[in-house]
């Protein structure tokens, strides 16, 4: 934690973090750490393996999270509401419950035992680890295992890349339980001693509210918010820099966004490695620098692996994650590395200047609301859920909507409403197809597999 504390010197003690309700300066964050020390000591609270922390975008959550980082306690940063769904992974021995502050204004916490705790993992003897949930997968859960020190070094690279300083005002409208909000927004902002504002349960109205009140010079948003701002067709009084991760906004939409709201940096990254590359950060280069050309973040290296017609991007970030864990804390056998290079499963090319262009995926994955969704995984799930369907193929339409084409079993019927309701009850929202089409037979290739090219041609 020296990395953080050394930066909270006299010059930045009055800067701090704010949420929808309050502001805490960095000087007071350190005092909160001392209070927590006393609280843990007085209540003899002990975490032996890993603590489950449900992370909302609130100042209190951020303080607790930083406190665990500083104490080198292994912590799993869970998405909000995971506790209610009962999906606490077995590698956590304790669950931290954060309560509303009482009249004394001190942080109120409770440490509960995890009844699902399974002590057969690879966390033993390791400390200072941060575990994130892998986004998007609807198959068996996998967890991303980071060394906290690497997370800080990763964030330091972002400070340099985005020119974040103690004079910056950074708005984070995306969840800080994920690597984008945490590693590109929150941690770099705090480590630079900047003023950081986080939006809890963000929506586009809260975003506009905060843009007006906080007046950031850098905002982290997602592509959906970019599109919503464009749809609203409003002019905002202040222009500044936006960073957007996920499906990049390109072409006319990007130009329109830049003209109306300010510079837009497309970020290429992933939960496993953090920020990997971005479109040009400096406004001065926006005319000459191609929007699709991505400049690597300091320390990140790329190479292309050509196999047949596929050109897969491989990436190396010295401050990336260690490996995937399963829910019991065991190192998974299937890891996404090849000779130490991370397999992105994205297709792309590298130009003479070493800049990267991402051209698509080498597998059947699409980006839905910031989640990488495997269509093959989804099809297996759908075939289990919709038992009247014999075979289901999902495709992304030209308007980026998800269509499920269902080949029905003989003499069975199915309608869109019941299919959609079944999906809504059993799948995360981003995995629910927008449209369903029912057919007696899906065109197939000679080998019996669905002819995806023909289906895409027929239905998009």
């Amino acid at each position: 934690m020296a990395l953080l504390e050394s930066l909270w010197d006299g010059n930045v003690r009055h800067n701090g973090i704010s949420d929808d309700q309050c502001f805490v300066n960095y000087g007071d964050v350190l005092k909160e750490f001392q209070n927590l020390d006393q609280y843990f000591k007085a209540h003899q609270l002990q975490i032996t393996r890993c603590v489950f922390l449900e992370v909302n975008n609130t100042v209190d959550c951020v303080i607790i999270m930083l406190y665990f980082f500083s104490k080198k306690v292994n912590v799993f940063l869970a998405s909000p509401n995971l506790l209610n769904s009962g999906a606490v992974p077995g590698f956590c021995d304790k669950i931290l419950i954060l309560k509303d502050r009482d009249d004394s204004s001190s942080l109120q916490i409770q440490l509960a035992e995890n009844t699902n705790y399974t002590d057969k993992g690879d966390l033993e003897n390791n400390s200072g680890m941060v575990i994130l949930a892998s986004s998007g997968s609807i198959a068996a859960p996998k967890y991303i295992y980071y060394k906290a020190d690497n997370l800080f070094k990763n964030a330091a690279a972002c400070i340099q890349h985005f020119n974040i300083s103690k004079d910056s005002k950074l708005l984070v409208s995306v969840p800080v339980c994920h690597m984008y909000g945490l590693g590109v927004g929150l941690l770099p902002g705090i480590m630079a001693g900047a003023n950081v504002s986080i939006i809890n349960k963000s929506n586009v109205i809260k975003l506009i509210d905060k843009l007006r009140g906080f007046k950031p010079d850098i905002s982290l948003i997602n592509p959906t918010f970019c599109k919503m701002l464009l749809q609203l067709n409003k002019t905002l009084s202040q222009s500044h820099t936006y960073i957007s991760a996920g499906e990049p906004l390109d072409g006319n939409l990007r130009t329109e966004f830049i003209n109306r709201y300010g510079h837009l940096i497309n970020l290429y990254g992933c939960s496993e490695l953090g920020a990997m590359a971005t479109s040009e950060v400096s406004l001065q280069h926006k005319i000459t620098f191609s929007e699709k050309s991505l400049k690597p973040v300091n320390g990140v290296k790329f190479k292309i692996k050509t196999t047949g017609n596929s050109n897969e991007i491989l990436c190396k970030n010295p401050y990336g994650f260690e490996f995937y864990l399963d829910e019991y804390g065991k190192r998974m056998t299937d890891q996404p590395f090849e000779d130490g290079w991370y397999r992105t499963k994205d297709a792309g090319r590298i130009d003479n200047s070493g800049n990267l262009e991402v051209v698509g995926r080498i597998d059947l994955c699409i980006n839905r609301s910031g989640f990488l969704l495997s269509l093959e995984e989804l099809e297996v799930k759908l075939e289990n859920l919709l038992e009247h369907a014999n075979k289901i193929v999902t495709i992304e339409t030209s308007s980026k909507e998800l269509l499920a084409i269902c080949e029905l079993k003989t003499d069975y019927t199915l309608d869109t409403s019941s299919a959609k309701n079944t999906c809504l009850r059993n799948l995360p929202r981003y995995a629910v197809p927008d449209h369903f089409h029912f057919t007696e037979s899906i065109p197939r290739l000679y080998n019996g597999k669905p002819d995806r090219k023909q289906l895409t041609f027929l239905y998009t």
Partner: protein
């Protein structure tokens, strides 16, 4: 331009938009005047809120300015109706 419209008529029209024009699966019976329009109340997500803004601007021939678009605007149908009423009149 809509003239001489009462707050009650504005509320009815907002409810019509919510039920008929938004793909949000709502019934008039669900729509209490003092209930938040966000996910802690009626349950509109960001996309629905954006669509609602665009539809309300069209139906009432008004334009929300940047300063109108605060979190409070959708804190209830009552509040939204008040803002629309002020803009119309």
């Amino acid at each position: 331009m809509i003239d001489n419209i009462s707050k009650d008529s504005i509320k009815s029209k907002i409810k019509e938009v919510l039920v008929d024009d938004l793909d949000a699966n709502l019934n008039v019976g669900d729509l209490k005047d003092d209930l938040s329009l966000y996910e802690d109340g009626i349950g509109l997500d960001s996309i629905s809120i954006v669509n609602l803004i665009v539809l309300v601007e069209q139906k009432f021939s008004i334009n929300f300015e940047e300063e109108d678009l605060s979190y409070d605007l959708f804190s209830s149908i009552n509040h939204l109706a008040d803002v629309i009423y002020t803009k119309i009149n």
